[in-house]
């Protein structure tokens, strides 16, 4: 695998993300949503920003997921639909490089879009009279970026064998379950019967744990930064997860027959 080729493929994804306007639309939506929330009169009290941070970060997570899935799941199906996959693979680009480049491009695009969201939120919170704690803000963004990497890898994996819409739907279901349902398993498993329990345990251990990348509680409720060692563990876990998902994507894509005839 050559890094230069991967970067070249990633660059095309960035350019495409810039050309399409969906990121700007989401950013505007986020801004409108936060400003609407900020306009709430809280019994005339000033300097209350926790709820703005809370709603803003929740929206940033939601929009981050939407951007990551939208960008990552359309890469391969769009290339195949437009027949541009053939000249791309005719060049000395391996399928592994193509997948990695697409993943890198999607991740970086979504991460930069999220940076814009975080900066917008920080500015609005500042305008409301509050502030984010620097280190916690940095850690929160860093782990969010890692989560976006995992979501993009999920999107790429599904798009290797499915069309754009199906891949996006499955990615939403998987990411949503990983974020909302999987963390609830320890609570559900207490009352589960034998077979159910085993099934839940399997899900708990094989599904990605996106809640590990979510530091909103620390940010909103001023718990201060997490220890760098635990942050490092989570990042290593994220890297392993991304690696596994990309390997699975490669296994699914390496022998995929791409035929023009299939397209008509």
């Amino acid at each position: 695998m050559k890094i230069r080729r991967i970067i070249t493929i990633a660059k095309t994804v960035w350019l495409e993300a810039l050309r399409r306007k969906d990121v700007y639309v989401l950013l505007i939506l986020l801004g409108i949503m936060i400003v609407a929330v900020m306009s709430l009169d809280i019994f005339g009290l000033g300097g209350v920003v926790g709820y703005v941070k809370d709603v803003g970060l929740l929206a940033a997570w939601f929009f981050g997921m939407v951007v990551a899935i939208t960008i990552s799941t359309r890469q391969l199906p769009d290339e195949e639909k437009a027949n541009t996959i053939f000249p791309l693979l005719a060049k000395p680009v391996t399928r592994a490089e193509l997948l990695t480049g697409k993943w890198a491009g999607a991740t970086v695009s979504a991460t930069i879009a999220m940076l814009a969201c975080y900066l917008l939120l920080a500015v609005l919170v500042k305008l409301k009279g509050g502030a984010f704690e620097g280190f916690t803000f940095l850690q929160c963004y860093l782990l969010h970026a890692w989560a976006i990497g995992v979501i993009c890898a999920i999107g790429i994996l599904f798009s290797t064998r499915l069309n754009k819409d199906a891949a996006a739907t499955l990615s939403y279901v998987t990411a949503g379950a990983a974020f909302l349902l999987i963390p609830q398993i320890p609570r559900i498993v207490v009352n589960a019967q034998c077979v159910q329990r085993s099934g839940l345990l399997v899900l708990y251990y094989i599904m990605p744990h996106l809640e590990l990348f979510d530091m909103r509680r620390r940010m909103v409720h001023d718990w201060g930064p997490a220890s760098w060692s635990s942050l490092l563990y989570v990042m290593i876990y994220g890297l392993v997860l991304i690696g596994l998902l990309l390997v699975l994507s490669w296994l699914a894509y390496r022998r995929k027959v791409l035929s023009r005839a299939d397209l008509f």
Partner: protein, 293 residues
């Protein structure tokens, strides 16, 4: 050069027509919706009668409940109530505990204001939820925001004019702000609306009795401060009727009876104020067994 034909002109006219039509339709829709929401707001009958009204009202109550739970979550600094969990020794659980703190904690001082937006949302979505308003008032009083607390209570009084709890809190605020005569009037009204006849030992009735005791205690203290000692004794004796065997009250009655009528000291009122201060301090301490505070 572009040749302007009849069809081009007609096309442009059509576009202009559609543009204006869209603007008029949108404006009419917006105006109708504004009128509808205004009417719906002022007509409880409509909301209670129509299916959509009932659905919307149920949805808003459900949403307000969610906001109320959110307020509780904010009081506990984002940590949800602990429940029985398995897999406590799993890698994911341990790492999650490191990233997301889960120890039992409470907000204190000015940071209590962070709870307010959610209570505000509860009161907006469900104006009949007096409990949320009283919680907001309690927190505002803890933050010494008496003006704001009074405003909230005035709003609550508009929607629930006969709720003795609202009047009791209003009376307490007036006492705090040294508006003794207003406090006396409002607490008299609270006493009139504090019905305890149907009491059968349920929690609600017990709370009503406790509220009645508080109202009588405040009224007795105000009477004592104004030199109306015989009236104060009557109030305290009424408390003994509700809660017999209260040693402190009996002692106070004896002390008041010894004093000549018309003599005022304000000791009772001061004692009540300091008691309330202490009560507000104990609110911060936790009742959960595994609490670290």
């Amino acid at each position: 050069m572009e040749t302007i034909t009849n069809s081009t002109v007609n096309g442009r006219r059509r576009e202009r027509f559609y543009g204006w039509a869209a603007v008029i339709i949108l404006w009419t829709t917006a105006f109708s919706m504004a009128c509808y929401s205004d009417i719906a707001k002022h007509s409880e009958h409509n909301a209670a009668g129509s299916t959509i009204g009932r659905l919307l009202s149920k949805a808003s109550i459900g949403l307000s409940q969610a906001c109320y739970e959110r307020a509780d979550l904010y009081f506990h600094k984002g940590v949800p109530h602990s429940s029985k969990k398995a897999l406590a020794d799993s890698f994911y659980h341990i790492l999650n505990e490191e990233i997301n703190p889960s120890s039992h904690a409470h907000r204190h001082g000015r940071s209590l204001a962070e709870i307010m937006p959610w209570l505000k949302l509860v009161t907006s979505l469900d104006p009949g939820n007096i409990e949320a308003r009283l919680n907001a008032v309690f927190l505002l009083m803890k933050m010494k925001e008496f003006d704001v607390a009074e405003k909230v209570l005035m709003d609550a009084r508009r929607t629930n004019p006969k709720d003795h709890r609202v009047l009791l809190y209003l009376g307490r605020i007036y006492v705090k702000r040294e508006k003794i005569s207003e406090a006396g009037q409002i607490l008299e009204t609270a006493l009139r609306f504090c019905h305890d006849e149907a009491c059968a030992g349920c929690d609600h009735c017990k709370d009503t009795l406790i509220d009645k005791r508080a109202i009588l205690l405040y009224l007795a203290a105000i009477d004592e401060a104004e030199g109306n000692l015989s009236q104060a004794v009557e109030r305290l004796e009424a408390i003994i009727e509700i809660f017999p065997g209260s040693h402190e009250i009996e002692t106070t009655i004896k002390a008041l009876k010894k004093r000549p009528d018309g003599e005022s000291s304000g000791i009772l009122l001061e004692a009540l104020k300091s008691h309330e201060e202490a009560e507000s301090q104990t609110f911060s301490s936790c009742t959960v067994p595994d609490c670290e505070h």
